[in-house]
Symmetry: C2
Subunit: 98 residues, 2 copies
DNA sequence: GTATTATTTCTGTATTTATCGAAATAATAC
DNA sequence: GTATTATTTCGATAAATACAGAAATAATAC
């Protein structure tokens, strides 16, 4: 992963409401959660929640798919893992590039 | 780790300049880096760099120690690992608390 | 068609964060 | 003591982000 991409993802996760949402989705796993389910857990105005969801989508960490009237949210686990790997990449190898 | 603590750490890492600094320190390992070394790599005004360093310190991810005229920066690897662990904790276990 | 449910988009305001020059502090050298 | 080096703190301005009410869209049910 590139630094700028990682920074965007981390900045999105760095908000308590969005991190709480992320944690719910981690627990939910591949099934994901409907926006309404997230709303029930986090209890915030619709517009605020939706704003946070759209932040998460622009980072790519969250993927939405419509199921009738319901929008279901899932994490992109591959991207999530790339992000976590990136943080510790080349640990303790020293500063020289390559 | 608690959600709010994790959110603070992630928000600090979510800035490109600070993430670049974090990555340098990951590569540097236990030796860490002097502020001046970081400055050389990142090339930004002293005051801006110092501001970012102080952000990293308030999160606890970065620890400074004085060595004569030089301030040396190291990562708190234990905290860093707790943060990474926290993100994926209880993955796919479902939403019920416990 | 109208009503209901689920969710987003719009729009504005409040708050936080980023940036950086100039002045200040801390340590060593002379 | 003065000078030099390393780094921070202060203070101001610019930019980004968060928040939430009201209106809009999308899908289903009737």
């Amino acid at each position: 992963m590139e630094l700028d991409k990682a920074a965007v993802c981390l900045s999105k996760l760095g908000n308590p409401a969005r991190l709480a949402m992320f944690r719910l989705l981690v627990k939910a796993g591949d099934e994901g959660l409907a926006v309404g389910d997230i709303q029930k857990e986090l209890d915030m105005p619709h517009s605020t929640l939706s704003h946070h969801i759209s932040h998460m989508m622009t980072s790519g960490l969250l993927i939405q798919s419509r199921e009738g009237r319901v929008l279901r949210c899932r994490l992109d686990y591959q991207l999530t893992n790339s992000l976590l790997d990136y943080l510790m990449e080349d640990c303790c190898k020293g500063l020289q590039e390559a």
